[in-house]
């Protein structure tokens, strides 16, 4: 199993701006998952990108994956105050459990 490392640890932006979070990992993966956690709540799955995909979109979310650099990024466009949360990446090797990193804490200021 391996753990993703999110960067930055904390990010503060104004409402309407874009937010970019990065994730690095160490070994080959089968897929990479992004999750969001609002304060005091459980995690919510956002996007799963497979190792043979380079980019994936879901609404205002855009995820990229560069397997040669062993990195992924999550872009939230036109951020809203409701996007304030912690974001976690979870790189997945085949048939192995997910190990969550420390996450990126995003604050969107109205």
């Amino acid at each position: 199993s391996q753990q993703g490392e999110e960067d930055p640890q904390a990010l503060s932006i104004q409402e309407g701006e874009n937010a970019t979070m990065n994730c690095s990992y160490k070994t080959s993966i089968n897929n990479l998952q992004w999750y969001r956690q609002n304060s005091g709540r459980g995690l919510v799955h956002l996007i799963l990108i497979r190792s043979n995909e380079r980019e994936k979109h879901s609404g205002r979310l855009r995820v990229t994956l560069d397997t040669s650099k062993k990195s992924s990024s999550l872009l939230i466009t036109a951020s809203r105050a409701a996007d304030t949360a912690s974001y976690f990446c979870a790189p997945k090797t085949s048939y192995d459990k997910v190990i969550f990193g420390p996450g990126t804490s995003l604050s969107v200021i109205p």
Binding site: N30, G42, L43, H45, K92, K97, V98
Partner: protein, 112 residues
């Protein structure tokens, strides 16, 4: 559709007391089940996971144990709580180890 339940939502227990947290999943069969703990402002620590009834894998040596008495029921227990057991406990399920996980609402445990 599938749903996952955890209870209680909050719990305050004295040091040395026992613990039992329950997690149940509805709407799916033979899920993979997970217990995580999250300290305040920190990431998730995987405690246990189970791929089937009676099959428990422990990730971190600790004061806790887990059991899966039924296909969709996952229980986290302790015989004697420590102060360091305080935290936010999350249960999750997935179709397989390779798929996305779906989390319950969590239990906030405070050990005094």
């Amino acid at each position: 559709s599938q749903t996952i339940h955890q209870w209680p939502a909050t719990l305050v227990q004295p040091v040395g007391s026992p613990l039992s947290l329950e997690c149940t999943v509805e709407g799916t069969s033979n899920p993979n089940l997970y217990w995580y703990r999250q300290a305040a402002g920190r990431g998730l620590q995987l405690l246990f996971y189970s791929v089937g009834i009676g099959q428990i894998s422990s990730e971190v040596p600790q004061n806790l144990s887990a059991s899966r008495p039924q296909d969709r029921q996952f229980i986290l227990s302790s015989k004697k709580l420590l102060l360091s057991d305080s935290g936010f406990y999350l249960c999750a399920w997935s179709v397989s180890l390779n798929n996305e996980q779906f989390f319950g609402p969590g239990t906030r445990l405070t050990v005094l």
